[in-house]
Amino acid sequence: MKVSKVIVTLLNGLPETLSLLVASFFFASLIGLSMAWLYLRKNPILSDLAKIYLGIVRGTPPLLMLLLSYFGLPKLFALVGININDWAKIFFGIVGLSVGWGAYLEEAFRSAYLSVDKGQYEAALSVGMDVKHAFLQILMPQTFLIALPNIENLLIGLVKATSLVYVMGMVDMYSKATDLSNQNQGVYQLEIFIILALLYWLIVLLIEWLFRMFHRYYRYVEI
């Protein structure tokens, strides 16, 4: 079997992998931001909720998170009379991964926000900015820059975790590889998985390169 045929077959699963990655990261960030905001409201009940959420996710294998989403969500929705058994599988994949990664992103955002120098906020107020602009112009950009290395690691972790959606029968790059290796009755299996690994590596190297470029652009901003 030709290497090029393997690559083409595996790349057929790339769109599924990428849409899963982008959508999950988007919703995970949304969850992370809103949880961080709740946490920082200093409301004891809300921050306890955020703590429990983080504690549960920390101890949950991503695979299990996906399975619970796939098998559990239909049951939960059935309780309120909504049938979601026919919804696209990618929906359950996105929910499982976003809930998992949202907790880690929440932690990254919150710790970054708390480590912004308090003097920066005071300086913003002292030149007459209102609280909203002080947040948008000064606190938020600095929070984001501080959180960047963690965000990069989490995004790379998410790339790798997308391979787990095979458990719900989604056809991503990884599933294409297992299908191909089964079709060939055990020949070239090693080659298939090495090529698959190289493809994932390439995606990760690309992400690392993008973050490096971004970081270089802001190299003089020392926070």
Binding site: E122, S126, V127, G128, I138, V221
Partner: protein, 247 residues
């Protein structure tokens, strides 16, 4: 009278930092506050632009009467937009270039257009000879340069009062002079200033009035010559003789 503070009190947990301060400043005056570390000088300054909130007291600023224990957000913003502050650690916005640091307050505090703000910022940066640094981030500047830009950031807003919180304390000795020079230049132009500092020579030469502060109270106030050469209070004398070698 530009600013008048009456009976300002402030407590941290169970530690009284300000024990009923009365202070008034006329337009054009340079008031220098001296005193031992931890006596509450900085806290007093931070209570004037409400970076900290007093427990009680009254303030009259530009003929507007304010109850310090009960301020509305509009009042807080109004005072901050008519004052400016220079910080001990400069606190230049780390994610903004030198020129953006200066234009930021004009845009978001005074609703000037970005174009006008940048023009003004450029002009004021030029006036202190730092125009070549306009696109540098704070991390690329020396402490002295950062603090001089910090002063420009404050004065470009055309504030009624500039509050200086130990502006030279974090600087290397050889950089102190340039910053003090800019401050003296500002005073000569008639800028109203309240300065908390340990630079006694600055207090002696530039101040129109010196306030000696200790243990959360104003102990003595007068012209530089009155306070430095003929201190009336025992604690003022003690403080001055303890730091005698410094000035």
């Amino acid at each position: 009278m530009l600013l008048e503070i009456k009976n300002l009190k402030k407590k941290f947990v169970n530690n009284t930092v300000l024990k009923g301060i009365d202070l008034s400043i006329n337009a054009g005056e340079v008031v220098v506050i001296i005193g031992p570390s931890g006596s509450g000088k900085t806290t007093l300054l931070r209570n004037i632009n409400f970076l900290e909130q007093a427990d009680s007291g009254k303030m009259t600023f530009k003929n507007k009467r304010l109850n310090l224990a009960n301020l509305s957000n509009e009042e807080i913003l109004w005072v901050r937009r008519h004052t400016a502050m220079v910080f001990q650690n400069y606190n230049l916005f780390k994610n903004k270039t030198a020129i953006e640091n200066i234009s930021e307050g004009l845009i978001f505090g005074q609703n000037k257009s970005k174009k006008v703000a940048l023009q003004l910022a450029k002009k004021s940066l030029d006036s202190v000879g730092l125009l070549d640094k306009q696109d540098f981030y704070p991390a690329q500047l020396s402490g002295g340069q950062q603090q001089r830009i910090g002063i420009v950031r404050a004065t470009v807003l055309n504030p009624d009062i500039v509050l200086f919180d130990e502006p030279t304390s974090a600087l290397d000795p050889e950089l102190v002079g340039t910053v003090l020079y800019d401050m003296k230049h500002l005073a000569d132009q008639g800028q109203t200033m309240i300065v908390v500092t340990h630079q006694m020579s600055f207090a002696r030469n530039v101040a129109s009035r010196v306030v000696f502060f200790a243990d959360g109270e104003i102990i003595e106030t007068g012209t530089p010559s009155e306070v430095f050469d003929h201190p009336k209070n025992k604690r003022t004398k003690q403080f001055l003789s303890a730091i005698a070698e410094d000035y």
